[in-house]
């Protein structure tokens, strides 16, 4: 049987999505369900003086109205930060309580303060309008740059500072800077983004009064974690009385990692009102309350020699956490950001110092790339600036500072197992026709247009694990992954994974690797995920970890199946175990034609005896059945890398930036399914380009989100992109048996600096902040013109 790993297998999940048979949370209805509508603070910062529900409770169809008082009375716990980060001075980070319904203070627009349950959605909405909340409005802290000088939002958290974190050695950096020929300085605002999975968040909860079990269907990237938090920290129910199901989920991009207020409230309330509850976010609610991404202010410095060698790097960042610290909120701007800020380069000395602060805005957490896009943006922008200031070609300066040997001990944390950065950059250069740029620039200029080219080389640390490392860095749980592989007596295979697909294609890629391991046709393999009642505990999907952690757990469980199968086959074939080999789905006795298929062995394992034709006594000490599980905890992160090159054409009269060409060359190690991996790259690029040219979440001074719908928040559409030119190089990961590296976030990580480098190149080096909107670029063109005129 030909190997499926590496082939463009069409997706097993597609037919149901294409025929309208997907089953998303909002598609689920439970008999006798009530509808929940949340009452949210319209103010960014306010004291809740009184909530009067008397009139609303009498409204038609209302079942109940609950507030923060009820939550407190029932001792329901709140949302949590998943990582404990220490400040440079050794002190613990400071996190405020985050009750599911705000009782005393509302801290961002959209913070839920009460919830109405009614017989119909219309009735719930009407009643919600009748709930009177008496607020004392306080001055909002919404300007990130001023946050530390503003009034403290949370009691006991001075300067609104969660932590002041340092990674690296200030003294060594000072010494390196002292030796430098030139110091390149750069100030960056990494714009705030809203993930915008197309499926708005939702939950449907059912409580069984007899079994006392709560079932919560929800839009989650990690149902097991949601259950754990809801049980251990929320106190909603013990884990064995709580079932969390994430059915088909319509995209996540990080925004569905967190357990949210609504899931806790509806789960708790379902038991209280003894009715099923359905809640579906409207898009505006998603804008206001989904976790946001990015939002950094960074000052960076790079010490260089005149011939372009890097000596040292400084990164001083203020990171916005929003109103509360959530699951990945505190680690995203530290360990996911700081170590990667020195990029793919040999950097003799470096430090990253991050001050994470609270503001009266929606919580900021992981968004596709989480920390690594911000890191890559910082280093790749400053490297380009260095090239400009030193009069060097951007490719030349990069090549000059690449490591030449692997494993590569990256400056701040990571031991990068494999890579070949020059090979990727050379391939990208060729695919992008880098040398033909000058001619294309001339052609653009003859039409009155500006043309720029941008280069980025990146690496990232993903496949978020290994447990000993992440726990040492502050993670509250171990980040392994589990798998269970079950043979049915009649030979089909069901694989249970703790990983979760919300677009990643697990049903296909995980089936491909299982098919290769077990020699079973892919049609006979089903992948099950997303239900805490099915399969063992799992850590879920984020940080490009599904394949490199979850997929390997499947491989390992399959290997255990083969080990047991061999023993059974040996007994069946009357051979010694050492003489039995497993190949292409068959157990074969060496130097003979005696064999049993794995299906026959599975069948035999469930019928351990002798009767008529069935002759399958199990070896002594073996249990019946063919089911194995594995928990995989890799020895290291995985380190995909690559080089991207793009060209933009700018109309100086309008400032409109046209993305003309985009070339991406990525190294993901072994590729299981090129069709799917290309899709991951395309989608990642679109989000990275979105940050560079289109997307920008904006709050006004009073803390109102002024980009809270698709009328104002620019979602990239089909006509915003050219056809991407995609290529790959391959150095296999050495830390897992398949040699795979994560691919989900790479496009997003590399695209933003690539596009901005091109825009700034077109503008002749004129700095411009993210995103490069038409008006900003137009202004930059005007000021460049003035400078030119003066110079002339």
């Amino acid at each position: 049987m030909a190997s499926l790993v590496g082939s463009r297998v069409e997706r097993k999940e597609d037919k149901r999505f294409l025929t309208g048979k997907g089953r998303y949370t909002s598609d689920i209805n439970i008999a006798n369900q009530t509808y929940a509508v949340f009452i949210r603070s319209p103010h960014a910062r306010a004291k809740i003086k009184k909530i009067d529900t008397s009139k609303a409770l009498k409204a038609s169809g209302v079942v109940d109205i609950l507030t923060g008082e009820h939550i407190a009375k029932d001792k329901i716990g709140g949302l949590i930060a998943g990582w404990a980060i220490r400040s440079e001075d050794g002190s613990e980070m400071k996190c405020p309580p985050n009750p599911p319904l705000a009782k005393d203070n509302a801290n961002f627009v959209g913070d839920p303060v009460a919830v109405v349950f009614a017989e119909t959605l219309d009735e719930a909405k009407t009643a919600a309008e009748l709930v009177k909340v008496d607020y004392k409005v306080l001055k909002a802290v919404s300007n990130l740059a001023d946050t530390m000088n503003s009034e403290a939002i949370h009691e006991g958290i001075d300067k609104n500072l969660c932590y002041d974190w340092l990674l690296g050695d200030r003294q060594k950096v000072k010494e390196a800077f002292d030796k430098a020929d030139k110091i390149i300085k750069l100030d960056i605002i990494n714009n705030r983004l809203i993930p915008n999975a197309m499926e708005p968040r939702a939950c449907v909860v059912d409580y069984n009064t007899a079994s006392e079990e709560i079932t919560c269907y929800t839009t989650s990237q990690n149902p097991h974690l949601s259950r754990l938090i809801m049980s251990a920290f929320g106190g909603v129910a013990p884990e064995n009385k709580l079932r969390v199901v994430a059915p088909d989920v319509g995209g996540g991009f990080g925004s569905k990692i967190n357990l949210y207020n609504e899931e806790i409230v509806c789960s708790w309330a379902s038991k209280k009102i003894e009715r099923p509850i359905k809640w579906v976010a409207e898009r505006t609610e998603s804008f206001l309350t989904d976790t946001h991404g990015r939002d950094h202010i960074t000052h960076a410095e790079l010490a260089v020699t005149n011939d372009g060698k890097f000596l040292g790097f400084k990164n001083e960042t203020i990171a916005n956490l929003g109103a509360y610290a959530r699951v990945f909120g505190t680690v995203t701007p530290t360990y996911l950001f700081g170590p990667c800020a020195t990029g793919v380069y040999v950097m003799p000395a470096a430090y990253s110092n991050v001050k994470a602060v609270y503001t009266n805005t929606a919580p900021v957490d992981a968004y596709r790339g989480a920390g690594r896009p911000e890191a890559t943006y910082t280093i790749e922008r400053i490297v380009d600036k260095a090239a400009t200031e030193l009069g060097m070609d951007p490719i030349e300066i990069r090549m000059k500072n690449f490591p030449t040997e692997f494993p590569f001990k990256q400056t701040l944390v990571h031991q990068v197992d494999s890579g070949d950065y020059a090979a990727g950059l050379n391939k990208a250069k060729e695919m992008a026709d880098y040398d033909g740029f000058a001619a294309r620039k001339k052609a653009s200029e003859s039409k009155g247009k500006l043309r720029g080219i941008g280069v980025t080389t990146y690496f990232e640390a993903c496949g978020i694990a290994p447990s000993p490392v992440v726990m040492m860095l502050g993670c509250g749980v171990g980040l392994w992954e589990s798998a269970e592989v079950r043979f049915n007596p009649t030979g089909q295979v069901t694989v249970y994974t703790g990983s979760h697909s919300h677009g990643q294609s697990h049903q296909t890629t995980f089936a491909q690797i299982t098919a290769d391991e077990l020699g079973v046709p892919i049609e006979n393999i089903d992948i099950v995920h997303g239900d805490t009642d099915k399969g063992t505990f799992g850590m879920g999907t984020y940080g490009s970890r599904s394949l490199t952690v979850g997929g390997i757990a499947i491989v390992n469980a399959c290997k255990k199946i083969i080990t047991k199968g061999k023993k059974i086959a040996a007994k069946m074939l009357e051979a010694s175990e050492e003489d039995v080999e497993f190949k292409n789905g068959e157990f074969v006795v060496a130097k003979s034609n005696k064999k049993k298929t794995i299906g026959e062995v599975a069948f035999a394992s469930y019928l351990p005896g002798v009767r008529d034709e069935v002759k399958s006594p199990l070896p002594e000490g073996e249990e019946p059945g063919l089911v194995e599980s594995s928990f995989f905890d890799p020895a290291n992160f995985s380190f995909p890398a690559g080089s991207h090159i793009c060209e933009v054409e700018i109309d100086p009269e309008t400032g409109d930036v046209k993305l003309d060409k985009y070339t991406a060359v990525d190294d993901f190690g072994t590729i299981v399914n090129p069709l799917i991996v290309e899709g991951q790259v395309h989608g990642g690029l679109a989000q990275g380009i979105g940050q560079a040219l289109h997307e920008n979440a904006q709050y006004d001074e009073s803390g109102q989100l002024i980009t809270a719908s698709y009328m104002d928040y620019t979602m990239p559409r089909a006509d915003n992109f050219p056809e991407f030119n995609i290529g790959f190089t391959c150095t296999k990961a050495t830390t897992n048996p398949l040699g795979v590296k994560g691919c989900g976030e790479a496009g997003t990580i590399a695209a933003t600096p690539t596009v901005m480098n091109a825009v700034i190149n077109a503008l002749g080096g004129e700095e411009i902040s993210l995103p490069a909107t038409a008006e900003k670029v137009w202004k930059a063109c005007k000021s460049a013109k003035k400078t030119d005129a003066k110079a002339a």
């Binding site: 219309d122 009269e653 309008t654 904006q698 980009t707 009328m711 104002d712 909107t773 038409a774 008006e775």
Partner: protein, 261 residues
């Protein structure tokens, strides 16, 4: 959404009679329905006028193109007759919203709503349109009063819009990157009896830029616009475009429109 009573009017008279201060006429519903969904508008009665045959259709004579109020954008965009008589008008319709909006949205609805960033009002001004209602004929120049405001009275229904066929014309817009409405749209039309430069998106209401029109009257070329100063005073300013930027875009897009004429 708050509930209402839905009426499907069989003729204009019935529709007009049903109208009140708490009712709305429904044609394509491309603005009415979203604003009702968001709770920005509530009505007791919705009067659907799509069923009234007389309100839909396209008539082209030598001098005029007359389009029934409930004619959909897609019908205007695909009309061979309009493409021949006033290609810029068909092109404008082709650029409104997305295909689903064009399959449903109507010219009468667009004009009655008078969104400051809508496309059709600029066509009305540029092409010296006459708005035919069930009670009178109104010159486009007098029809649009202000942001989302027209001279239409309660119960008054647009029946058709009559456009003057120009010698040449063109419409160019710079769409808002998020909503895709016009940040600035400029409709230039050269008629026997004068030139109009209708601008949408830039101010609270569509307007005819007399300075640009005057300049083009003496020299109909993009180059002549270079010397015109477009003031940003009174122009909209928002997160997508400042007044200063809009003023520049009026000029740039007027030039583009003249070039494409």
């Amino acid at each position: 959404m708050k509930t209402f009573n839905y009426h499907s009017a069989k003729d204009v008279k019935e529709a007009s009679k049903l109208a009140s201060s708490s009712s709305a006429f429904l044609a394509g519903g491309m603005t009415t329905i979203p604003s009702m969904k968001l709770g920005l508008a509530t009505y007791k009665n919705i009067i659907d006028i799509k069923g009234i045959k007389k309100l839909s259709g396209i008539k082209v004579s030598g001098k005029a193109v007359t389009i029934g109020a409930t004619t959909k954008h897609a019908e205007v965009a695909n009309s061979k007759e309009i493409k021949k008589a006033i290609p810029s008008l068909a092109a404008l319709a082709e650029g409104i919203g997305d295909p689903q909006v064009r399959n449903r949205g109507t010219i009468g609805g667009s004009i009655a709503n008078n969104d400051p960033a809508a496309d059709y009002p600029s066509a009305c001004i540029a092409l010296n349109a006459v708005i035919h209602t069930n009670s009178r004929k109104i010159d486009a120049e007098k029809f649009f009063k202000g942001m989302f405001e027209t001279v239409l009275k309660s119960g008054e229904i647009i029946e058709a819009i009559e456009f003057q066929v120009p010698q040449k014309s063109n419409y160019q817009k710079f769409p808002n990157p998020a909503s895709r409405y016009a940040i600035v749209g400029v409709y230039v039309a050269k008629h026997k009896n004068g030139i109009n430069v209708a601008v949408t998106g830039a101010k609270s209401c569509v307007y005819n830029d007399k300075d640009l029109a005057k300049t083009l009257s003496s020299n109909f070329s993009a180059a002549s616009i270079n010397n015109v100063r477009v003031s940003s005073s009174g122009m909209n300013s928002d997160i997508h475009a400042s007044a200063e930027y809009r003023a520049n875009m009026v000029k740039v897009f007027a030039k583009k429109a003249v070039e494409a004429c």
